[in-house]
Amino acid sequence: MRIGVTVFPGSNCDRDALYAVERMGAEPVELWHADADLKGVDAVIVPGGFSYGDYLRPGAIARFAKVMAPLEYFARSGGPVLGVCNGFQILTEAHLLPGALLRNTGMRFVCRRVRVRVEATNTPWTVLCEPYEELALPVAHNEGNYFADPATLARLEDEWRVVLRYLENPNGSANDIAGICNEGRNVVGVMPHPERVSDPVLGSDEGLRILRSVLAGARV
């Protein structure tokens, strides 16, 4: 399986993601922001960082990068896409996921490992997790405070589209949401970084439970 990792100016988790893809046992493919196609990959990870310096709003400029056109087509036709951190912010700006990520309520950049619970295993990115499995994943963000209007939040809960939930909310996120999926369940956005815990040498490889899920067939 070939997994693409998008690279925007200011992405800083792209190398980690490419390394994690190797650790998963898949073939990593770098997708440059100015690429006009996805090089035939089977899944895409939009990694974290500060694309375009977070100018205007996190993800606001990246959302119009050239590679986003084929990525949106891929996502809307059911291809598995995982947005991590800034990648999650980009996917909300691109309207591939609902809501937005606001400034953390504590006004501080939060960088630590937090415990999250897997709330939905019927997505291509969580199918290998146990229902309600608890994972310890690192977060590192300034705008991770998930916001959506009450109707959207209710819909996310009703449709079991909250994928990860914080057990200790680090940023004021609505309903303790750490990750959600789209209606088709193939696009998942999470604030915690599974790729940063993809090797025991990094302290843990719990993140691989999420990343490897996509190898398990992508169809759920």
Partner: protein, 114 residues
């Protein structure tokens, strides 16, 4: 005060070793910025958090003011000011909706200022 005036003031400081030449070279200190485009309109767009949406930046400023001894401040909201020169205002709303503001969390207003 002109930029030159500030520099002169700094040089006239009695202790030469402390007289760091301050050159404030922001164009707004010199003269009004000439328009780059002929027949253009200057517009000012104000983007701010929607009413009722948590505004941690405003909250941080609100709590910092009393710490400096400024009392009587109720609410503070922090937004973003964007100034642009445009040939026509036809597409300003579309620009705001698609890029300059995120309608999920922000509201905007704009006016022609020149």
């Amino acid at each position: 005060m002109s930029a030159r005036g500030v520099t002169a003031l700094a040089w006239s400081f009695p202790l030469p070793i402390l007289s760091i030449p301050v050159t404030l070279s922001h164009p707004s200190l010199e003269k009004p910025v000439p328009k780059l485009m002929a027949d253009s309109l200057k517009i000012r767009i104000l983007v701010r958090p929607k009413a009722g949406i948590l505004d941690p930046q405003g909250e941080a400023v609100r709590s910092a003011l009393p710490a400096l001894g400024f009392g009587g401040v109720g609410t503070v909201h922090v937004g973003r000011l964007i100034e642009m020169e445009v040939e026509s205002t036809d597409e300003v709303d579309a620009m705001c909706r698609r890029l300059l503001a995120n309608p999920t969390i922000e509201e905007y207003e704009w006016e022609v200022v020149g």
